[in-house]
């Protein structure tokens, strides 16, 4: 039994807010921004997410996310009660990243972890403000139609304005 007295009493209007830059688009890097955004929104905070560079791919209508062993020196996967390390170099072998992605997705399902699609839907549903970086759209030749409905297009100044008003500001 936990002492719940700290949470008793007055109604607290949570007016705090959070702004974050989402710059990475792999499966593993997609989790932190969406988990934090949905949780902050559930706790009554106003949340702004700015999707730039590879992070912009997280706004595509159809997500096809994967992980790479390359640049992830600490990656290890649970396997038969042990942990299999996935050395950087393995990423150069064809098929390894696909295998690692498959393993990760299998684990995610098995452990009752939300999919990125699920978290993204939850973020939209809870009125998280999403901004797609216009410059990245031009750079990688995305059309507005490639992205889900909802996000607005904007640039650095749009994010700075949101960040200026925020209690938490993150770069992920």
């Amino acid at each position: 039994m936990t002492d719940a007295s700290a949470t008793t009493g007055e109604t607290v209007e949570n007016t705090k807010s959070m702004a974050m830059i989402v710059s990475k688009g792999s499966l593993d890097w997609a989790y932190p921004p969406f988990i934090l955004a949905t949780t902050a929104a559930a706790m009554g905070q106003k949340v702004t997410m700015f999707f730039t560079f590879y992070g912009l791919t997280l706004l595509k209508k159809k997500l096809d996310l994967g992980v790479s062993t390359l640049g992830n020196p600490a990656m290890s996967m649970p396997m038969m009660g042990m942990h299999m390390v996935m050395p950087n170099l393995m990423g150069m072998i064809p098929g390894v990243d696909g295998m690692a992605s498959g393993m990760m997705k299998g684990l995610i399902k098995k452990k009752g972890i939300a999919s990125i699609e699920e978290l993204r839907d939850a973020a939209i549903e809870s009125d998280v403000s999403m901004i797609a970086c216009q410059m990245t759209m031009d750079l990688f030749e995305y059309k507005r139609d490639d992205l889900i409905d909802g996000p607005e297009l904007g640039g650095a100044a749009t994010f700075i304005e949101a960040a200026n008003k925020s209690d938490i500001s993150l770069f992920i």
Partner: protein, 75 residues
């Protein structure tokens, strides 16, 4: 007996919190929501959630592998 019960067993962070928030929207102010979860991280998370949202955590207990939270919708 709680006004509503949310079974969040088998779900991992942040799903128990997200589903609880959604369920609380359907509980009238002053009513209670019972959440069942198996995620050990939910214990600290529901304390923080309630402190931040102003809802009242009436009870936090454990029955075997299941954690039980009783939340009063006050906010």
């Amino acid at each position: 007996m709680a006004d509503q019960v949310l079974d969040a067993k088998g779900l991992n962070c942040p799903l128990p919190i997200l589903k609880a928030k959604k369920a609380l929207n359907n509980v009238p102010t002053g009513g209670t929501l019972e959440v069942l979860a198996t995620d050990p991280g939910a214990v600290k998370d529901f304390e923080a959630f309630c402190r931040q949202t102003g809802n009242e955590l009436l009870e936090s207990s454990q029955d075997g592998k299941v954690f039980i939270f009783l939340i009063k919708h006050t906010a």
